[in-house]
Symmetry: C2
Subunit: 409 residues, 2 copies
């Protein structure tokens, strides 16, 4: 008998029919003898309405009141889900954040879970009950309702799974797993049965919006098996139906590359002919940092005549602010040019640690497709290139084929 | 400086515009130097939606989960109202039932307030804050959310006013006070400046749906001044704009009659020629009581030949069940006839205690309008007659004029 935490996102509880459907899945796991704790999001659309009301009154609303208002979305789903489970003769009850002992920081609207006083929930599981916990929320030390920020229900689920020493945390969503790349772009994309946490983090940060990053980080830290699967289809068979996120050492046979991702959220800035001297990097990073703008890729060319060209990327939405900040900083550049028609295409895989040929293979594939590389960035398990936005689809398809991701079983 | 509890019902907080409008009224009282505590209902329509969801899942839903779901309606309004007040530079915060220390019984869906641990709210008032309390809800001893039943926010407000030792409890609603009769039926109806609790109770029980009866009973018990007024119109002037409910001894000059009411919710049943013997009354009341059906007016005629006719009224919606229960009880009646085209018209007034001519005047008025009386019921401050439903409007108008209610200043 294992303990499972099952989390259902907004689209999986969007209406009563979907709630009933989710209850069926829970009932099946419960009947199979598992101890099940459930975490639910608000019915999709509900949170948006509540947020809109707060903003309509005033954009400068009190985050504590915002939290009291928006936390109701999950409270409703938790009660309805408990009723749907009771209808299936399961001894279920709803637990709000404050009832479930989910203690958070006081950073309203973006609180972090500090502790889960899990004994009451453990006792409930021991009695054969199915606790249905309202996700996304907690209670601060001074007794106010807090919320964890958008997507926080994933984090609630993983934190709860860790507190309950669960064997697995299943995240039910509207996709049936993590794919080698976006199936809408590359029809040959394959669902991964397993992916390492590190890979998922690299993939999440470059555009795969399956799981909230914080929840993946937390699962990695706790060593919690995390499965992403669809709430809409397929009964539970002998095999896990979704994608399982595991520790690197639990990847029995890792692929060299697990995925190709594409992000069009960035813009490129180039400073031409700036002085190549100590402190130069800090001098252009400083005004951006002061403006709260994150820099991603940075390329600095070899200097000639004591002058060098520097290229870096910033979030596309911050481009005009970034240019203003740089112009005001008096960097001595001959000129500053920008381009917001760029895409960042990345290949991700823990296997590349042992496969030094990966960068070569990537660059050759792009070259043979006449795609020019404007910048390169790497991490231990990722290589990213900045290319012209119009080449993005072609690049992703070519890399997906070159690394044989369409052949993953 | 006085302490006020201001309660806003569902139509008074139906949307953001109305919430802002209510916030204006609170801001005005606050600026006038009063300590103000606010109680809010759910935005109108919200509770109905939440209840419908519970019922759609199963009509046999767990009342504890029902409470967790429907209590969110008031939680949302409380948060939004706090934001609307803060926007007006008022130091406001929302308090849910469990935060405000509103301890209730465990009778979920129809809980009663047992205690209000009011110190935190008193401290907040002393700091100049405006607490906005979610009405209709409390917390049981075992830490579950409870609700007080439909209209329970009125009760929340009165109980809170008592706990805070408020000088007055203002109930803002969609009518501007208590009228001598329904203004839609009798255009000459006048708004009462004052009404005694006892009168209001008699009027509420016969159709005036201005205040929840429990809240009036509670206010009477606590001696709390209770004002009914409109949230939609008129600024606050020197005079109280609504109707004030007061103790009988505080009615400086009481009218003989304060109101005429009409109820069409009843049906009449007559048992013809039943034996006139001890225990007869019990024999027909028992099957109805067993079926959970309430009897209102009862008329038993003088017996002749040891046989008598008995007439009584039951709620119209229970008529067919009542007839079935009576037929099954084998009462030995010659026949049982029923009529659901009846109306109960009542005159109410504490003044009638000292005016024995009231019944005569009532009966003469009806007689001169050719209205036949089918049954009569009385209390110390009320006389009710059962008449043909088609005569109801005429009877109310005639009585309203006869007792000069159109001349109340």
């Amino acid at each position: 008998m294992s303990t499972l935490v099952m989390k259902f996102g907004g689209t999986s509880v969007a209406d009563l029919k979907r709630i009933e459907n989710a209850a069926e899945k829970i009932a099946r796991e419960h009947a199979a003898g598992h101890k099940c704790a459930v975490v639910v999001s608000a019915m999709s659309g509900v949170t948006n309405q509540l947020v809109a009301w707060c903003n309509e009154l005033t954009v400068d609303h009190d985050a504590r009141e915002y939290d009291a208002v928006v936390a109701t979305g999950e409270q409703v789903t938790a009660g309805l889900m408990a009723i749907a489970l009771q209808k299936r003769s399961i001894n279920a009850r709803s637990w709000q954040g404050w009832q479930a002992g989910i203690i958070s920081t006081q950073a309203h609207g973006r609180a972090r879970i500090q502790d889960i006083q899990s004994q009451p929930l453990l006792d409930a599981l021991d009695r054969g009950e199915v606790p249905v916990v309202a996700g996304f929320q907690g209670i601060s030390e001074d007794g106010r309702i807090t919320t964890l920020g958008r997507g926080g229900s994933d984090t609630s689920a993983v934190a709860l799974a860790a507190a309950l020493k669960a064997d697995r945390c299943d995240i039910y969503t509207d996709v049936d797993g993590v794919y080698t790349t976006d199936p809408r772009v590359v029809p040959q994309a394959r669902k991964l049965k397993k992916i390492a946490f590190e890979e998922m983090l690299e993939m999440a940060s470059v555009g795969a919006k399956v799981l909230q990053i914080r929840s993946v980080e937390l699962a990695m830290k706790c060593g919690m098996n995390l499965q992403v699967l669809s709430s809409l289809d397929a009964p539970i068979g002998s095999e896990l139906p979704g994608t399982l996120l595991v520790k690197e050492e639990d990847m029995l046979e890792s692929h060299v590359i697990s995925g190709v991702t594409c992000s069009k959220d960035e813009a490129k800035i180039t400073l031409h002919a700036v002085a190549d001297k100590p402190g130069m990097a800090a001098s252009y990073v400083r005004p951006l940092a002061n403006a709260g703008i994150t820099i991603d890729m940075i390329v600095q060319n070899v200097a000639s005549d004591g002058l060098t060209d520097i290229t870096f990327t910033v979030p596309r939405t911050d481009l005009s602010r970034a240019l203003k900040a740089l112009e005001g900083a008096n960097l001595g550049a001959r000129d500053i040019v920008s381009d917001d028609k760029v895409a960042k295409v990345s290949v991700v895989g823990i296997g590349m640690r042992n496969h030094p040929e990966v960068p070569l293979q990537m660059f050759e594939t792009l070259a043979s497709n006449q795609i020019n590389i404007q910048a390169i960035g790497t991490s231990e398990i990722k290589i990213s290139v900045l290319i012209d936005e119009k080449d993005a689809g072609k690049a992703v398809s070519a890399l997906h084929a070159a690394f044989e991701l369409d052949k993953i079983a």
